[in-house]
Subunit: 331 residues, 2 copies
């Protein structure tokens, strides 16, 4: 395949587009990128015009687009690509695939869940390379994922396979955004974890301000917000409640990962997203809980590693829906 693939990454905070090389050798290389903020509260047409203009800005130099791969926040009708991203009320059953197909006639246009694209990216070019059976997870304001089994992306009956955030880890536990109780996402998503710590007296940023070598000498400290990211920073600075929150998240993740490992006979789990920045403080309790709940011989081999790709991951995964369709798109 010569020419380039147009990769599109649609999120609640930003839109990103890229040209990705399709030549052997440079296949999967991100050649050129454009980003813009998602118009807050934009209606369907405003959102589409924003994307359309962003693509114009990317394609100022001539380029032969041989296919379009798209990652978009869910839910969506799949594979039709009619999207209703939970954080973008302006698009409800918006025919994103059809609109892109009008703009790029005669080439394949593949739309998938953004968390699935991140998993695909890790499998194709990141920490999951060489694994035939992996779960790629994102732990951020939500908890999502994508499954690759027997070397192929698993879509499930409606393109929704990989929803590991809704494995129950605490029966009778906190209510999740989905309406159920005790889902992994209800326990381990950043905002839930921050609320849990605040409810126990966590003072965001206090541990960082009081850390040795700073204290009184620090003339100005930016106001800390009660976020998952701040929780990770405070845990690193030794805050007792922030550490307890990481333990809580890690154990919840370990239970859900164990379910996936036992059910799907996985080799590997990659974990990305904001909370994974906490490093060992999160991965240690995760691995402990996983080890306690994967006791059969086959399940013990599964490893958990941080995701390897940075902010381009969503674009790389979207491009793979075209460039490596034999693995990541239904035959």
């Amino acid at each position: 395949m010569s020419g380039s693939v147009l990769a599109v990454d649609i999120g609640g905070t930003k839109f990103a587009v890229a040209l990705v090389g399709s030549e052997a050798g440079g296949e999967g290389e991100v050649l050129r990128t454009r980003r813009t903020a998602t118009p807050p509260g934009g209606d369907a047409q405003t959102l589409w015009r924003t994307l359309d203009s962003l693509i114009d800005a990317l394609l100022t130099e001539p380029a032969e687009v041989v296919g379009v791969g798209v990652g978009c926040g869910g839910p969506m009708n799949w594979p039709e690509g009619e999207v209703s991203p939970i954080n973008m009320p302006g698009w409800r059953d918006f025919p994103l695939r059809a609109r892109l197909a009008e703009r790029f006639p005669g080439v394949p246009v593949h739309v998938h869940n953004d968390a699935v694209c991140l998993a695909v990216a890790e499998h194709w070019r990141g920490a999951g390379r060489g694994s035939a059976n992996m779960l790629g997870m994102v732990v951020s304001t939500g908890v999502g994922g994508g499954l690759v089994l027997d070397g192929r992306l698993i879509n499930g009956g409606s393109g929704n396979a990989g929803h590991v955030g809704h494995v129950v880890v605490e029966p009778g536990g906190p209510v999740c955004g989905c309406g159920a109780r005790g889902c992994l996402e209800a326990v381990a998503r950043g905002p839930a974890l921050a609320a849990w710590a605040l409810g126990r007296g966590w003072q965001p940023g206090a541990a960082v301000r009081e850390a040795p070598g700073q204290g009184e000498a620090v003339p100005y400290v930016e106001a800390a917000t009660a976020s998952g990211r701040q929780l990770a920073l405070d845990a690193a600075a030794g805050d007792r409640l922030a550490l307890a929150a990481m333990e809580r998240a890690g154990r919840a993740l370990g239970l859900a990962v164990a379910a996936a490992v036992n059910l799907c006979d996985l080799d590997l789990v990659t974990v990305g997203g904001g909370l994974s920045q906490a490093g060992r403080l999160l991965f240690d309790p995760l691995e402990a809980a996983l080890g306690e709940h994967t006791r059969m011989g086959f399940a013990r081999r599964a490893r958990v590693v941080p995701a390897a790709l940075g902010q381009d991951a969503g674009l790389v995964g979207a491009a793979a829906l075209i460039l490596a369709a034999s693995h990541y798109w239904p035959r």
Copy 2:
């Protein structure tokens, strides 16, 4: 394909072999069957001779065997087919596939986990026909299963995909045979459930003896054993503790099934095995717990149905490893 497939079903209580038709039209029809008890405490050679003789007894009339499909209790090295069935200590890393390949040279010999074969059978010829995304479960002295996703049997990295019995449904709960705590199998397998009820004062068979229309008039009642099957009978007769045990099992099954539905985007779950004989008394709490924990649109469509095939299911699934290898055996 003309000729017949030799199907073999190796379990801790019985060995079964069958010739299964491979002609279009009769494909999958069980033509002839032989069964024998598993020699208790048999060593490797005794077990092999028992199987070998059983095959002799099946093949007294001439038959062209075009392939051999085998379901065997796990664990095993897969796809090598070196088996170590947990209930047959005489076979440890026994080269079952290789020995059958010596006896039937030049034809494919495929060995898989017995629970996987039951799931394959339900998908191929039973309650799962037409579903592209299903989990086939067995709830008996153990809890096992097999996964079909995107229309193909999922093997996982070591042929162990489908181990739904080791999804955690009760964190910190009872210790499982695998060594972990709170696995579905530790809660819902027949013997665990019977022990749970006995510990609360269950008197096996009492409810059946006292049921209206029987009482004093019954001259002889066979001694009831504290089994999962008896528990199901007593629940049907209205025994309070037996009903509570079915509720406990059903809810545990519902949580694990919800995990599989959310993670794998399933259409269908089939449930077979002794405990499934309890019918609505088991399926009602199962469906209630499943409904509580599958709240996203895509997950609500999943249905749970009883397995449809009887005692030949294991043989039918074993035959499918050959007759429908394009769906049930790796390319």
